[in-house]
C-alpha cells in the first residue's frame, strides 16, 4: 500500500482509531495485523519470506542472550548469514550471475548460469537491516532479547517504517510497543503536520520533478548537456523529497499513535561539507553503517589514517551496494566515500572555515552530490558516463516540456522547498517565532493543504526507495 494512495487514506484513520479504542494489551496485536495487511497489499505471499527472517532472528536473539563466548558468536553469525542470504538470493543473485556470465563470455568460456526470474520483495533491504541491528544489539548486550514473538514481529514489521524505513534500533522502538500510549492531542497535531509536509514533499515536489527528470533521463541521448544538468539538479531535489517525504509521513503517522521514530533527514542540502551532508541524509542508514560497519572495523580512532580512509571507502561501497545490485550504485557509494576521504585528508583550513561564505560551501557540496546522483539515477555505467561527458560540454537547447506550466511548477516547487528548509533552520528551529508559534503552525498547515490540493500530482507515483 502506498502512502499516496486512496487505500492508505482509509487504512490509516481506521487503524489509528481502532488502536486508541482497544485496551493497551491488545494494541500490539492490532498493529501487527494491520502491518501484515499493509505489507500484503504489494505481493501477498512475500510475507512468508518476511516471516522466515523474523523467525530466524527471533530465536537467534534468544540463543545469543542465553549463550556465552564462541557459541554466542556462532549464533550471531548464523543469524547474520541466514538473514543476508535471503537478501542475497532476492537482490544480488542475478547481479552476480550477470557479471559471472559477462566475464565468462569475455574470456571465451561458453558457459552461462541462468538468472532467477524473481521480483525483489518491497523494502527487503530495510527490514533485513532492522533485523540485523536487533541481533547485533542483543549480542553487544545493549538490548535484552525479546521473548514475545508477536512484539518482535511487530518490531520488524511495524507498518509506517516497514518498506522504506527509518531503520530503527531495538532500544528505540521495542519498549514503545509495551508502554501505555494514551491519546494526546499534541502528538496528533505534530504527527498530522509532519504527514502533511511529507505529502507536500512527495506530491508537490518529487512527483512533479519526476515528470521532467524521467523524460530527459530515459532519452538522455536525445537531450542537450544543459537539459541533462537541469534534470540532474531536479533529480537531486526529487530523490530528497521522495525519500524525506516518505520518512516524514512514516514518522508523522507513527507519532499520531504515540510511537516515536528516529529523524531520517535534517535538511541535507543546507550542509557546508560532505561529512555534514552524510550526518543529515538518510540518518538511520548512515548511523547503521557507522555503528555496525565503520566502527566494527575500528572507526575513526585508529592511529593509521590510511586505515581510516580505507574503512570509510569500504563502508560507502557497501552502502552503495545496499542501495541496488548495479555497478552504478557501487560507484555512487564509492564516489561519496572518496569525497569524504578527500575532505578528511585536506582538512579545511581557517580560510575556508572562516572566510568562505556558507552559501558557497553549500553550493560546493550540492554540486559534488549532484555529480554522484548521475550514477544513482542512470540505468547503467555507460549511460552515466555518457551523461557526464555531455554535461562536460554543456550547450544546445534546453528541453522544455510541451506544457510550459510543468516547468513553472518544477521551479516553484524547488523554490518552496528551499524556502521552507532555510526558514526552518534559520527561524523556526531557533524559536524566533515564539509569540506566533501557534498561529504560524495553523496557517502553515492550511497553506500546505491547499498547495497539495492545487499543485500536487495525484497519479500514484511509486516511492523511489521502495525498490531497495
Amino acid at each position: 500500500m502506498l502512502f499516496n494512495s486512496v487505500s492508505f487514506l482509509l487504512f490509516f484513520p481506521i487503524v489509528t482509531l481502532i488502536y486508541f479504542l482497544l485496551p493497551h494489551r491488545w494494541r500490539w496485536l492490532h498493529l501487527l495485523v494491520a502491518s501484515c495487511v499493509f505489507y500484503m497489499f504489494f505481493v501477498p505471499y512475500y510475507i512468508v519470506i518476511l516471516f522466515v527472517t523474523i523467525l530466524i532472528d527471533y530465536f537467534a536473539g534468544i540463543w545469543i542472550e542465553r549463550s556465552e563466548g564462541r557459541k554466542k558468536k556462532r549464533y550471531l553469525l548464523f543469524s547474520i548469514i541466514s538473514t543476508c542470504l535471503v537478501l542475497f538470493v532476492f537482490k544480488y543473485y542475478n547481479f552476480f550471475i550477470d557479471n559471472f556470465n559477462g566475464v565468462a563470455h569475455l574470456i571465451g568460456w561458453n558457459y552461462s548460469i541462468e538468472a532467477l526470474s524473481i521480483i525483489l520483495p518491497i523494502g527487503l533491504s530495510f527490514h533485513t537491516f532492522q533485523s540485523l541491528s536487533y541481533v547485533i544489539e542483543v549480542y553487544r548486550g545493549k538490548q535484552k532479547a525479546e521473548t514475545n514473538f508477536g512484539i518482535y514481529s511487530l518490531y520488524v514489521m511495524y507498518y509506517p517504517q516497514l518498506v522504506a524505513g527509518p531503520i530503527e534500533r531495538p532500544q528505540n522502538l521495542l519498549h514503545q510497543f509495551k508502554r501505555q500510549n494514551p491519546f494526546r492531542f499534541q502528538n496528533f497535531y505534530r504527527g498530522a503536520r509532519l504527514m502533511l509536509y511529507g505529502f507536500f514533499m512527495k506530491l508537490v515536489v518529487a512527483d512533479r520533478l519526476s515528470i521532467y527528470v524521467d523524460t530527459v533521463y530515459t532519452n538522455s541521448d536525445k537531450h542537450s548537456g544543459i537539459s541533462l544538468i537541469v534534470a540532474t539538479v531536479f533529480f537531486a531535489f526529487q530523490i530528497y523529497c521522495d525519500f524525506a517525504g516518505y520518512s516524514a509521513i512514516a514518522i508523522g503517522a507513527s507519532r499520531i499513535m504515540g510511537i516515536g521514530l528516529m529523524t531520517n533527514f535534517r535538511r541535507p542540502y543546507l550542509s557546508s561539507s560532505i561529512g555534514e551532508f552524510w550526518r543529515r541524509w538518510h540518518i538511520s542508514l548512515s548511523t547503521w553503517f557507522k555503528d555496525y560497519v565503520f566502527i566494527s572495523m575500528g572507526g575513526s580512532h585508529l592511529k593509521n589514517k590510511y586505515k581510516v580512509y580505507f574503512n570509510l571507502m569500504v563502508t560507502f561501497l557497501i552502502s552503495g551496494f545496499w542501495h541496488g545490485a548495479n555497478w552504478t550504485f557501487v560507484i555512487w557509494g564509492g564516489l561519496n566515500g572518496f569525497y569524504l576521504v578527500v575532505e578528511r585528508a585536506l582538512r579545511p583550513g581557517q580560510v575556508y572555515t572562516r572566510y568562505i561564505p556558507k552559501f558557497l560551501k553549500m553550493l560546493y557540496v550540492f554540486v559534488l552530490i549532484c555529480l554522484s546522483w548521475i550514477f544513482f539515477r542512470s540505468d547503467s555505467l555507460t549511460q552515466a558516463l555518457y551523461i557526464l561527458n555531455k554535461i562536460g560540454h554543456p550547450g544546445g537547447k534546453l528541453f522544455l516540456p510541451p506544457d510550459p506550466e510543468i516547468m513553472i511548477y518544477c521551479l516553484l516547487s524547488i523554490s518552496m522547498i528551499l524556502f521552507f528548509e532555510v526558514f526552518y533552520e534559520r527561524v523556526y528551529a531557533r524559536r524566533k517565532l515564539s509569540r506566533f508559534y501557534r498561529t504560524f503552525n495553523h496557517a502553515f498547515m492550511i497553506f500546505l493543504f491547499f498547495i497539495v490540493l492545487l499543485f500536487g500530482v495525484f497519479d500514484g507515483g511509486q516511492f523511489i526507495y521502495f525498490q531497495f
Binding site: 486512496v6 491519546f183 506550466e405 511548477y409 492550511i446 491547499f450 490540493l453 492545487l454 499543485f455 495525484f458
Partner: protein, 307 residues
C-alpha cells in the same frame, strides 16, 4: 469527555470549516478565470461544451484537431462545422462531450476520428480525463463518466478547487489576459514539414490488452448517435507510417464497429508524401487542407444520401 478528545474534536471542527470555506472561495475564484479564458484548448473546450450549436462536429485526439479543416468542411457541406478534437483524449472524453451537447442540441453529423490503439488499456487515458473536472460540478453525465473512470473521485468530489489542480497559472494568466485564438472553428493548423523518409512498421506481434470500458464507451457513442438520428462517420486519418500488417488491437476495433453497425473509413495510408506531414502521426496545414478536401465529398454523400 476526555480533554484530549475534546481538543481533537474542536480541531477537526475548525479545520473542516476553514478548509470548506477556503476551498469554495478558491474554487469559485478560479472558476471565474477559467470561464473567462479566450485562448487555448481549455477555452475551446469551454466554448464547445457551453455554447456551440454546429451541425457537424469532429471528435478525436490531436489527429482530429489538426486533420479536419473545419473551414473547408463547412464550405463543402454548406453547413456549420466545429472541430472539438483535443490532444491525447480518447473515446471516454468524446462520449462525455457528446452526451453534454446533446442536452442542448442535436447535430446532423458527427465525425469520430479513431486510431488503432483506441481501445487499448492504459491508465493514462483515465488520468487525462481530468480535463473534464471543471465541468463535473455542473454536468451529471460528465460527473458519472469521470467517476466511472476514476472511482477515487468520490472521496474528493466535494472540493471546488481540486478541478483546477496543476492548471492554476494557466487559468489565471489566460483568464486575465485577453486574446484571440488562431483556430478555425476549433481546427488548428500544425506547422512544420517532416523530413525523414517513410518508415515501415512490422510490430504485428504487439498485442496489448483491450479495455472493456473503452469498448463499452465506443458502443455507447455509436448507439447514442443512432438513437438521435445523427449520421456517424468513423474514420482513421492519414499517418506517415507504412504497416506491414494490421495489429490485433485494430482488428478488435474494426470488429467492434462492425458489431455496432458502423463502418470505419480507413485513410491511414492515403499519403506517402512527407511534405503533407509535420510528424509521422500528424498532417501539417498543407496535408490537412488536402485531406479535408478529399473527404468532404464523402462526408457530403453520407450527410445527404438523397442528393
Amino acid at each position: 469527555m476526555n480533554k484530549e478528545i475534546q481538543k481533537l474534536l474542536f480541531f477537526f471542527a475548525k479545520a473542516i470549516l476553514i478548509v470548506i470555506v477556503l476551498d469554495f472561495a478558491l474554487g469559485k475564484g478560479l472558476e471565474i478565470f477559467y470561464n473567462r479564458m479566450s485562448v487555448g484548448e481549455k477555452a475551446r473546450a469551454n466554448y464547445f461544451i457551453r455554447k456551440d450549436l454546429s451541425d457537424v462536429i469532429v471528435f478525436g485526439s490531436s489527429r482530429a484537431l489538426y486533420h479536419y479543416h473545419a473551414g473547408v468542411l463547412a464550405d463543402s457541406l454548406q453547413t456549420t462545422v466545429y472541430n472539438a478534437g483535443r490532444s491525447n483524449q480518447t473515446i471516454l472524453y468524446h462520449l462525455a462531450l457528446l452526451k453534454t451537447i446533446l442536452k442542448r442540441h442535436t447535430p446532423k453529423m458527427v465525425i469520430l476520428d479513431v486510431n488503432e490503439e483506441e481501445l487499448v488499456k492504459s491508465q493514462k487515458k483515465y488520468e487525462l480525463l481530468s480535463a473534464l473536472l471543471p465541468y463535473c460540478h455542473y454536468d451529471e453525465d460528465i460527473r458519472a463518466l469521470y467517476r466511472k473512470a476514476n472511482p477515487g473521485y468520490g472521496f474528493w468530489s466535494w472540493s471546488r478547487s481540486l478541478p483546477y489542480n496543476s492548471s492554476v497559472f494557466a487559468t489565471l494568466y489566460r483568464g486575465i489576459t485577453r486574446g484571440k485564438d488562431n483556430d478555425i472553428h476549433g481546427f488548428l493548423n500544425h506547422d512544420g514539414v517532416f523530413k525523414d523518409s517513410l518508415k515501415t512498421t512490422d510490430n504485428c506481434a504487439a498485442n496489448y490488452p483491450l479495455d472493456p470500458m473503452l469498448e463499452q464507451s465506443f458502443s455507447e457513442f455509436v448507439a447514442l448517435c443512432k438513437a438521435r438520428n445523427i449520421t456517424l462517420f468513423v474514420s482513421v486519418s492519414p499517418r506517415f507510417v507504412q504497416y506491414k500488417c494490421r495489429r490485433p488491437e485494430y482488428e478488435a476495433l474494426q470488429n467492434l464497429a462492425k458489431q455496432d453497425g458502423v463502418a470505419i473509413h480507413d485513410y491511414e495510408d492515403l499519403y506517402d508524401d512527407g511534405s503533407y506531414f509535420s510528424d509521422p502521426s500528424h498532417l501539417n496545414s498543407k496535408g490537412a487542407l488536402a485531406f479535408s478536401k478529399s473527404i468532404a465529398p464523402i462526408l457530403k454523400a453520407s450527410l445527404h444520401p438523397q442528393q
